[in-house]
Symmetry: C2
Subunit: 468 residues, 2 copies
């Protein structure tokens, strides 16, 4: 079929399907599941158990191994048809200690966290006069002599936004600041935390870790501490900092993606994939990031598994390993399964806390777009709007497969408060609203069920790359 | 004059004054000062400088000495007529380290702060099974064998209230829990933080420190950590904790109350006293507690000092020492000045953050009550209601003098959010709303000015004790 005919046929199919691609019984089941999800506390219970029994679970640690063991047990006890693990191997990093203090013109301890993959300082730390920059670009533009032998402070603030769009512009300093400052001869990097809270928590997260590139020790200070530092600098006296970090990059470690399946009744080889990541940072208890996602997608699948009617396609819950330190679980999964990408009908990951879903967007074939519209019609009563076409990537852990043309849906969550807690000591269970969480489960259960029943394939494969 | 005649005369005077005790020019000045205060950023600037240049300032430390030096310089540079210090001597306490961790059924670090005057544990800490109580009364009622050789956990929650009334019922565990648990043979005490925040900050504060009574090491854990502990205990497995505290009670230290005066033009010996305390806990930067009070009362006095018209009576700003660890500055001041209590016309302390003032109450002579009512009339446009009679104590640092019959006014602040930050690492400048702070300054400037101009004495002395 040439491209013109294919397009015409897509339009024709789309027109024909627009009225309603789904069987009445499938819609009836979707609505039943949606109602059950809104009443269910299962997602919250799962997240509570993970964050209480395991706590935080940095990839490559004993806590990671305990989390994997917990997840296998949990998914098996929930009665899924199959539960298995698939390996992911990665370099890991261990925080030993960090201390950032003002030493002049006054002595004050600051609330700080080393940035993931920061090297340690020499024993006892480094101490130097500070040089402040507005953002990473300003540091990049600075002459070397302004930076050499100094401690660089980047004061860039993250802006609050429902869609989390303030994160990208601010996180550049965390990702690349250490390398850029190293090139110019700085001794250490300190950044304002990439977060929206005025509470006194520092925000960790990974820096880019390119083997061979020189990096310097780097830490984030809490936003009130960044304000304090700016005020002291504004007062005119030279300000000196001490940065003392102990940290280790470790030998490669192998963790596991943990996968549970509801085996499809008609097309077991065709898979609707719901993702979340099991690992967290080593601070807080990883409740919003991403205990919430683990609870949401597991509960959605469990509701379908408990229903009398079996899905036509298989539904898999994939709890990815080592997302935080470099998408290693997602990379391993893409590498292992990219040759069977056509089997992966539709992928969606929950990894943005537990705020309510406000929009669905999708990247699917033209033929499948009316199916997404019909799914949206069942989400509308949850307050979910129709979002853009071709924009979805399915979430971070599906991105390595997305570049091969994975069909994906994004259930965008309200992230207005997400970056108040993300990657901090304050990411704990109490930050989750059970009712908002249940709305998420309702959205995922409708999406997963109807995707499994769709009369049309979603189009994963090289064709979707061309569609971009 | 017998009591009956005195009372009749008071009623007569009250009736006569009710219309308006103040001269029109005094009211005009009060209104000018009020308008200037609402536009002034001085209180915020002072609090910013104290918390930025000095940071926290635990009584008895080098930071305390730096704060005293700063306060003397600041008050002198503001141009008050007289600035001086008066000594206060007290036992002090130093935090060295604290660590509270769950050791079974899982290992997790908790966010904790040792309670002030906690003894240290033995080297390496103590580790034992936990026994949980609803509140101090439940611990008091428990048989010794339920407590001996255990670590006691008191889970009492503080309730949020505008007037801070949830503090008292919860703080009993902090004040007396260590002694009560010690009597029953417990190894250590851990309490839920006495605060209303769900952010992961522990709340410090002093325990009762009776020489001779046996105490055990005690710490508060953050509210999310207390929730976590409760969930683990509810899961049924025995829960064990490790508590490791290093702390020292030090030799007596002498700090200073720092006092500034606007000398009265007609009755310099008669004093309107505005108080705040200069010390803070050793966490956060003591912005709300009580950097805000220092800023508010100093700015109010400075506005009066800058005005062309001199007050009839003297107005003194008293920045008390060592409030947090036992009202030592207030006790020293009462001891030094109780014999001249009649000179202290009216006292009011700002020590409840920077939330807006919503009510004025007072303990003054019957003759002076109409003056308070007339002052209230000038506060009403600030949203301040008339509160109760005979209930005011003027604030914590005036309490030692209050028992001798000090006339006092309370400008009650909205404390709904105060205990989200109080005594935590999170008590920093950004928690202050400059506009709300300016409203406080406006209230204090009206109160101080009109009290200094009052045609009637406020009645400090033994007579006010009888009036209770």
């Amino acid at each position: 079929m040439n491209r013109f005919l294919a397009a015409a046929c897509a339009v024709c199919l789309a027109g024909g399907l627009h009225a309603q691609p789904f069987q009445p019984a499938d819609l009836e089941t979707a609505r039943e599941l949606r109602a059950l999800a809104l009443e269910s506390g299962l997602a919250y219970e799962i997240t509570s158990e993970l964050t209480t029994r395991i706590g935080n679970r940095l990839a490559g640690t004993e806590d990671d191994a305990r989390a994997v063991e917990w997840a296998v047990d949990k998914l098996e006890s929930l009665g899924f048809d199959r539960v298995w693990t698939e390996p992911a191997t990665f370099p890991s990093w261990t925080r030993e200690h960090e201390r950032v203090a003002i030493t002049a013109p006054v002595e004050q301890e600051l609330v700080a966290l080393a940035i993931g993959f920061s090297p340690g300082t020499r024993e006892g730390g480094v101490e130097a006069e500070i040089v402040m920059f507005d953002d990473l670009a300003a540091l990049e533009a600075a002459p070397g002599e302004a930076v050499a032998d100094r401690i660089v402070f980047i004061k860039k603030r993250m802006e609050r936004a429902r869609d989390g769009s303030g994160y990208g512009p601010a996180v550049a300093a965390r990702g690349q600041g250490s390398m850029v400052a190293a090139e110019k001869g700085a001794l250490a990097l300190v950044i304002r935390s990439v977060g929206t809270s005025t509470n006194r928590f520092a925000h960790t997260g990974a820096m880019r870790f390119d083997a061979g590139s020189r990096r310097i020790p780097a830490a984030a200070i809490s936003n009130p501490d960044a304000d304090q530092l700016e005020r002291l600098i504004a007062s005119g006296d030279p300000v000196r900092l001490k940065v003392d970090i102990g940290a280790q990059v470790n030998e490669p470690y192998t963790s596991q993606n943990v996968i549970a399946e509801i085996t499809g009744s008609e097309h077991p080889e065709e898979v609707v994939a719901l993702g979340a990541h099991l690992d967290s940072w080593d601070v807080g208890t990883g409740a919003l990031d991403d205990g919430a996602g683990v609870g949401i997608v597991t509960a959605a699948a469990k509701l379908i598994d408990d229903h009398a009617e079996r899905p036509r396609r298989s539904i898999r819950v994939i709890l990815f390993a080592a997302e935080e330190i470099g998408l290693w679980g997602g990379r391993a999964w893409a590498e292992a399964h990219k040759d069977e990408i056509e089997n992966y009908q539709l992928a969606a990951e929950s990894d943005f806390g537990a705020g309510p879903v406000y929009e669905i967007s999708a990247r699917v074939s033209d033929e499948a777009w009316p199916v997404i519209e019909a799914i949206h019609a069942e989400l509308e009563m949850l307050g979910i709007a129709m979002g853009g076409r071709s924009q979805a990537r399915g979430g971070p852990d599906f991105m390595p497969m997305s570049i091969h043309g994975l069909a994906a849906a994004d259930l965008s969550q309200d992230g207005t408060r997400y970056f108040d807690y993300h990657h901090t000591e304050n990411d704990t269970l109490d930050k989750i609203d059970p009712a908002e969480m249940a709305q998420n489960v309702a959205a995922y259960v409708v999406l997963a069920w109807l995707a499994a029943q769709s009369p049309v394939d979603f189009g994963s494969g090289p064709g979707l790359i061309e569609a971009d």
